[in-house]
Structure formats: structure tokens, C-alpha cells
């Protein structure tokens, strides 16, 4: 297998990226890793003795996190993001993973790798951590903020397939994000999406409310990109605000510090359960090949897990199966 990896993207690039890829290269000697990066920045992090399955692939440009995505992708053709997406397009790599500029990766996925026939807009599908540690695939979280009901129908199909093939859910429970649990709730948009998803050959469990997001009462949550983005950022923001405040209370006096030390194992267990790093990256579903967004704050462990997930994505032939299901849907 051949996997391309963006060494330049992410808060801890390139060090964490190189370390994660070296771990992955040792774990999976059958896989060749193409490490895309600026030679002078990547080189210092490489070990004395090179690994035969890690191929440093020099690029000359870098897309920064705050660059306007579409412009950056059009201008910087020799950036790691554009090069990686092109390698997937041209079959030089079977998957590409980046922790860089999310918008640029989505734009390059769309413009360079390209969509599957019948897919108008791909969906960005991260795994939200849940309290039961299983995680929940949510799509779309912002690749397509102006979604139509038929897009959500495709998300439901693609999400169910991915959750089954890659995340290991036996018969994924697919829910529709809505403002009430009953079928008649919501807008004209959600009602049409509900009706379309109901007709699919998947395990659709109906509407799911935003209050249940952490409890993991569905395995795949389908929504438009605007709502999904709000859900993602709100979940992260509320959790962070609460933990920041707890930290403040816990470090107030010597006494509270002592008490917090006793509670530390429990807090740590909780933090581990809620850690996105264990869940790998977010696939851009609906492209001609696997393009995966790793979290911007990925460390080497998150990189390693993103690789593990991308390998399954390739092995399970998810792209081919999505194409088949879409054809079946159109014929039906």
C-alpha cells in the first residue's frame, strides 16, 4: 500500500508528523509512506538510519493555516496539500492524510482529486468522541454549508458504509440531526431529508437531538454542513470552557491541588475516553480516493491512528463500495 502524508500541516508540524509516520512505517512494513514537505524543514527530524518504506518527497510550497483556501490551492500547485491530492488522483498514492488548512484540503480534494460520479459535494466526516468510547461519525461538518436534502441522503449512505467498513460498527445506527425527535419536527429541509433517508437500505433510527451528541445514541449523525460545523465547534468550545474553569478551581489552593491529585486518575480516564486522537482523522467522503483530514493539534499518536484508519479505508475498498451503492441508488 502507498500512503501520502503532509509533513507541513498541523500545530506540531513537521516534528509530530515525522515521528508518527516513522512509528507507522515500523508497524506496517508493507506500506510505503510518501512524506510530503519542505526538504530543509523535514530533514532535521529524520533518524540517522533511514527506513526503506519512508520516502521523503520534497515540495517547494506551504499553505498556511490562515490562507484563503481556494486561492491557495490554485496558486500553490507545489504545496504538500495539492501534491498529495494529485497523487491520489493519479494513483501514485492510495490515500492522502493532512493535518493542515482544512478549507484548503477540502478545496484540493474537490478541485484536484475530484468527486465521485453522482456526488455534487463531498462531506467532511470526523468522529466525535462519546462517553461510551465508541465515537460517532458526524457528516457534514462544513465541506458543504448550503446542503440540499439529496446531499444528506448521500451522506447517510456514505457514512453508514464508512462506519461499517472502517470504524467497525456492525449495523451502524444512522440518525438525522434535528430540533425534535418526532418525524414531523424540523423544517421543510429536514422533512425531505428524513423521507429520503428512510428509503435507503441502511439502519436509519430517525431524528436525533443535539443534546444527545455525547451519549453516543447513534453511530452516524447526518446534518447539513452549517449545523454540523456549529455542533462540532460548540461541543469543543463547551468542553474546553468547562475544563479550563475546573483547572482554575482545582489549582486555587494547596488543599485543592492535593484533592485534584487524588482525582487525577479518574480525570485522566475521562480525558482519554474523550480524546479525538484515538479516533483517527476525518475522511472527505465522496472523492475519487481517500483524502483524510487529521486534527490540527495532532501529535504523533494521532498521526499514527490516522494512518491506521486510512489503511482500513483503502483495504476495505470503501470508495468502490460507495460508487456501487450510489449506482444502485440511482438505478433503484
Amino acid at each position: 500500500m502507498r500512503i501520502a502524508f503532509d509533513a507541513m500541516g498541523g500545530d506540531h508540524a513537521p516534528q509530530a508528523m515525522v515521528e508518527g509516520i516513522l512509528q507507522a512505517a515500523r508497524e506496517w512494513p508493507d506500506t510505503r509512506f510518501y512524506l510530503l514537505g519542505l526538504q530543509e524543514e523535514v530533514q532535521p527530524h529524520l533518524p540517522q538510519e533511514s527506513l526503506s518504506n519512508v520516502i521523503v518527497t520534497p515540495v517547494t510550497e506551504r499553505i498556511e493555516t490562515d490562507e484563503e483556501p481556494v486561492k491557495a490551492v490554485r496558486r500553490k500547485k507545489d504545496s504538500s496539500i495539492v501534491r498529495g491530492c494529485r497523487m491520489v488522483k493519479e494513483g501514485e498514492a492510495e490515500a492522502f492524510i493532512s493535518a493542515g488548512n482544512t478549507g484548503a484540503l477540502m478545496a484540493a480534494g474537490l478541485l484536484v482529486t475530484g468527486r465521485l460520479p453522482g456526488i455534487e459535494r463531498p462531506a467532511l466526516a470526523p468522529v466525535f468522541p462519546t462517553l461510551n468510547q465508541q465515537g460517532m461519525l458526524v457528516l457534514d461538518v462544513g465541506a458543504n454549508p448550503e446542503a440540499r436534502p439529496e446531499h444528506l441522503e448521500q451522506y447517510a449512505l456514505m457514512g453508514s458504509l464508512y462506519a461499517e467498513s472502517v470504524l467497525g460498527f456492525a449495523r451502524p445506527r444512522v440518525g438525522l440531526l434535528n430540533i425534535g425527535a418526532e418525524e414531523a419536527k424540523g423544517t421543510a429541509f429536514t422533512k425531505e431529508a428524513y423521507s429520503r433517508i428512510s428509503a435507503l437500505p441502511i439502519h436509519f433510527i430517525g431524528n436525533v437531538e443535539a443534546r444527545d451528541v455525547l451519549s453516543g445514541n447513534c453511530d452516524v449523525l447526518v446534518c447539513d454542513g452549517f449545523s454540523g460545523n456549529i455542533l462540532l465547534k460548540n461541543t469543543e468550545g463547551v468542553a474546553k470552557a468547562i475544563f479550563d474553569r475546573l483547572k482554575q478551581e482545582f489549582t486555587r489552593t494547596a488543599f485543592t491541588k492535593l484533592a485534584a491529585a487524588i482525582l487525577k486518575p479518574g480525570l485522566k480516564r475521562f480525558a482519554t475516553d474523550m480524546d479525538y486522537k484515538e479516533h483517527g482523522g476525518a475522511p472527505l467522503l465522496g472523492l475519487q480516493g481517500p483524502v483524510v483530514k487529521a486534527h490540527g493539534s495532532s501529535d504523533s499518536r494521532a498521526v499514527f491512528n490516522a494512518v491506521r484508519q486510512a489503511r482500513l479505508y483503502v483495504k476495505q475498498q470503501v470508495t468502490t463500495r460507495i460508487t456501487e451503492e450510489l449506482n444502485r441508488l440511482e438505478r433503484g
Copy 2:
């Protein structure tokens, strides 16, 4: 002043409602409280010695929390919710407060109290607790899930006025909920709303992301009812899930229980800061008179605070000022 209060709605009705109103009646002897409820259920909670400014006003019907709102409002004309909204309409009360079925209160507000001229759909505007304890008014959270950009323009105007007059913000910072901070972010919908709100005579600070909701970096957050409902339920759901899990970790052993006891004052301080009960109820802005939704789990303290807030709502003549501003907007 005359305030009507629904004794039948809420998880702790009628006891918490009666207790809260008795406290309010002692605090504000200048105000007459019309306690709307089923006589046989309210009576046992009244004190031996009656207060001259609490007038028990019997009704014969009750709208349950799970009833279909519009049907219930049409059928149960002698329910506390319909009667209270009619009292405001007919000037028998200057405000009505209920902790009952939210949908039914919104429907009765719309169908019985009625909209202000120029307002197509009122907005439900709760105060979200923020870490800085100031709170943030969010509208709409679900009265109007299929909003148009011109509705958001009205929300911005009404929300700013209410935050200034009732919540005490000197020059409320009004933000637009969006999936990015830059002006060009979002959908055609948010872009048009942005442009309309920019032209208003209020302190508009631009787009605000869902990750910042608890930090209180704006005072009034404007959004469509679908997104707002997701934001509200997700915020509540994530906070509850985290605290439930913490409780579980803290009560695991005798040791952790001891440690948790030491941390209790800090946790309690945090819980108080985040307590919606301190922030009163959620007004339905855009109606012909003040109709306020109190939280479903309101205790007597929340009832008392909802009354304090409703009194300001009336005293500050918010409804008249909204009408004037809307007229100015239309003329402009």
C-alpha cells in the same frame, strides 16, 4: 403592575410556582399576581393567611408537556397558557410567565397575544450562562426554524434593545452566529443577514463562532431558530454529560469522595455561575406584550427571578420601544 403567572407549567409545578410567586408578592407589594391554575391543585400550596396581591385565577384545563402545541392551544381555551396570553392581549395583565410546554406558549403567543405590526415571527430569547457571569442573550432558539435574513435583522434590533433595557448591558455587543469569523464566511443566508444587521443603529461586532459561546464575547447572539436550537441543546447536553461523568469519577471510592468534598466549594461556585436560574426567563420578542418562558425545571428562585425580569420588561416599556425602532427602520 399586574403579572399573570402559569401555576401549572414546569417540572415542579404547582408548588415551586406558588412559592416563587409568594416570595415575589412580598418583595413587590405594588404588583398584583394572577396565579392561573386548577383550583384543587393550587389551593393546597397556598398559605393560611392570604396575600392581598396574589389573586388565584382558576382555569379548568391544563396543557401537558408532550401535547402537540398548536392543537392544544386551539382546543384548550381555558388552559393557563391560553388564558395568560389572552390576559396580555386584552390588557388585563401587563406580562405573562409560564414554565410549561414551550411550543404551546409560542403558539399561544403568536395566535392569542399576537405579533407586533411588521413582525412576521417572534423570537424565543433565553439568556445563556457565560463564564464571566454576565450571560448572553441568544435569539432565536426555535420559535422560527425557517428564518429569513430579514427576520435576523429584526432579532438583532429587538435583542439589542432588550439586552440594554432589561439585562443592563450598556451598549450590547451584537454578534451573528456563523461558521467562521470573517465577513465573507458562511452561506448566502448569513451573508445577507450580515449585510442587513451591519446597517442597523446597534453595536454589531460581526460573526461569532459556536466555540466561543460560553466565553461571553458578545452580549446578544443572533441566529436562525434551527441553528439556535441546536446550539442551546448541544450546550446543555455537553455540559450535563461532562458533569454526570465527573460525578461518577468523584464518587468512585472513599478517597475520591473525600477529595471531591474539598473541591466542593469551587465546583459549587462554578455551578452557580453557570446557573440559568439567576438569569430569569426567555422572552418571546416581537409579541404585542411581554410573554416570558421560564425554564422547565424552574424552582421557586427561578420563578422569583423570572418575575424580576418581567417587571423590568414592563417598566422599561420594551414593547413600545421595539415598535418605535421597527417603525424607524421601515421609514429609513
